[in-house]
Symmetry: C2
Subunit: 378 residues, 2 copies
């Protein structure tokens, strides 16, 4: 556990009142599961809020016990001397509502019925996700965050936070993301949702305590996983190599390594994720569009934000390609913002934000350091 | 029906003996469904064999009846004065084995049991597909074709024909294809197959006369369809436009046009295609690798071919991208072949080979004309 924040625990924050959602519906009470790493400085000026992606959770760094072999999902970036240096900064990560890792979601008990919400859970959006996280930040006594950051859906929350609470963070670091979900990405999500809904075990969402729609969820995850890698990385990692054989069997059994890998990813995912949460969270991503259906201009949306931006994209990311980041950069320049933009050369596709640590660490480290010193001294 | 070959009929060719397959298994008797357009010239020198793609069939041009509103799948390219000018050439298209449109496939009756083959049907490959089509060409009295052509899986058959029967065609026109199926494409196919197999109606393939695995097949088709379009074309065609509403419902009902379109494509497909055929044909594509697992070099494979090549790719095709066509071009140049290569600028993605008619027609027309005149005069 060298270079790690070590053993950490999950915390819970209760929002007792009902919260109004973007859909017009209400949700409450709400539990938020969260973890923190490092310590708040005097004046609460060193807090960084990290948002997780679709299948992530509040456990961003460290280990849950001494024998735990799986660190948090962004162990590479959060810890002593890492990009988000826990010797200097206080890092917070919260499980999104709609999820299945401690925060209120479709598998939580609906206080009105005493049973899991299932599809009675209201549709939630990226805006709803950050709204409830703001309540936790207020509760922790943090008036202004040093930074908000995250990749993929985490990056969407970053952008939404900046727009919803334009004075609530000094720095904004969206990674491998976009200001809206594209038609192609909605399409991939919809194919995955159909696979879940087509699974008879899904039972219109009422499968809790019964058989899970595991086959459908596994297919959805397989589809997703293809979009997280690049054509190049799949060729390098698997190519057309056969799985544990020299010649093909000419059967419907697993022939190629890439098939075996995807099946494994699908099967592993169903052990740790709730199918209804997958439906709700993919919907939240699909609804995301800062321009509200093109009725607003990005530069106008960003105009009131009083923060500096560091925007990172990855050259082989075809899910949220560099062109999407460039749209943000252009709008920010029009609205007169300070913006550092960097496309990191990578073959890893969208997953690069979890893997390309060297350049990313250096970019983030300097950006945080320079600006934190300004705050401390200013 | 102006500019069309008009009313056409499906023909059947019977191969009475058993045929050896690449897997080592045997299949027979075999029926091949095929159509022809135009007339054979004196000397049988004007025949063009067109291979269809994954979901295609023998009905490449014209109409099956007076009131038929759906022409063949390549109506844009086959007909009087079109790319494959039926005033000049005799065009043949054959449904692949493993299919469900008249040629022997998993839904055909197994003569040994009197029931549909289902998964007792042997795994077939692209090589097997062209081997049986060669028997039809022999039967029609055609010693050497003027050309073989096709896009996507059709292009794979083109390449395999050239390699299997190096003297059996004068011209080779592979379109939007590759010498092997990539890891990413195997992955998309495998996700689709899993969706079919996960459907309880699939019943290990024995669903004939019962409920079809329609939901699973629809998901497989949805996945496939995303790969046939481009990110750009989906943005242009659908963007984030809502389906028949001004504001989102915030529900799991169809919200976006792109969802509606994909659902429609999935639902329409299950009416016309057999799920087991989808499994068998995607497997055939996945097995395709001219280099036989990298044990042979492309230039050596092409060395014995005595034909000219016209290779066409499309700039936004990410399923079989231009880079794959360029590998063929490079190998052909090394092996001393005449090759014309053209990347057509298009935003339509892989489907462009069915849509970008202007440039494609001009390229194919000249290529055929110049070479046909050489044959006639030579």
């Amino acid at each position: 556990m060298k270079d790690s924040v070590g053993i950490v625990k999950k915390n819970y924050f209760e929002i007792k009142e009902e919260v109004s959602l973007e859909s017009g519906k209400k949700l409450g009470p709400i539990t938020l599961a969260y973890e923190t790493y490092g310590k708040l400085d005097n004046g609460n000026k060193n807090a960084i809020l990290v948002f997780h992606a679709l299948s992530g959770d509040a456990h961003a760094a460290g280990y849950h016990s001494k024998n735990d072999k799986n660190p948090g999902w962004w162990e590479a970036a959060i810890g002593p001397n890492k990009a988000f240096d826990t010797n200097k900064y206080f890092v917070i990560c919260v499980n999104v509502i709609g999820g299945c890792k401690g925060s209120t979601g479709p598998s939580s008990i609906n206080p009105k019925t005493g049973k899991p919400y299932a599809t009675d859970f209201p549709i939630i959006t990226i805006k709803d996700m950050v709204n409830v996280q703001k309540k936790l930040i207020d509760h922790l006594g943090i008036k202004r965050l040093l930074a908000v950051t995250g990749g993929s859906m985490g990056g969407m929350q970053v952008l939404q936070w900046a727009v919803s609470f334009p004075e609530a963070t000094k720095l904004i670091i969206p990674i491998a993301t976009a200001t809206h979900q594209s038609a192609q990405n909605i399409a991939f999500h919809e194919a995955g949702r159909r696979a879940i809904i087509a699974d008879p075990n899904w039972s219109k969402g009422n499968y809790y305590g019964k058989k899970q729609p595991s086959l459908g969820l596994a297919v959805a995850r397989m589809i997703g996983h293809i979009t997280y890698l690049s054509d190049y990385s799949m060729r390098e990692k698997f190519g057309r190599r056969l799985q544990n054989k020299d010649k093909p069997d000419f059967s419907f059994d697993t022939e190629f390594q890439v098939e075996s890998y995807l099946q494994y990813q699908g099967d592993k995912f169903v052990e740790r994720f709730d199918a209804n949460s997958y439906l709700y969270i993919t919907k939240a991503i699909d609804y995301f569009d800062l321009t509200e259906g093109g009725t607003k201009k990005l530069e106008d949306i960003f105009a009131s934000i009083k923060s500096k931006f560091l925007i990172i994209s990855f050259s082989s990311d075809w899910l949220y390609p560099t062109a999407e980041s460039k749209k943000i950069v252009q709008a920010l320049q029009k609205s007169g913002h300070d913006v550092v933009f960097f496309e990191i050369a990578s073959n890893y596709g969208h997953d690069a934000f979890l893997l390309e640590n060297e350049t990313q660490t250096s970019l983030i480290k300097s950006f945080l350091k320079n600006n934190y010193e300004e705050i401390k001294n200013g």
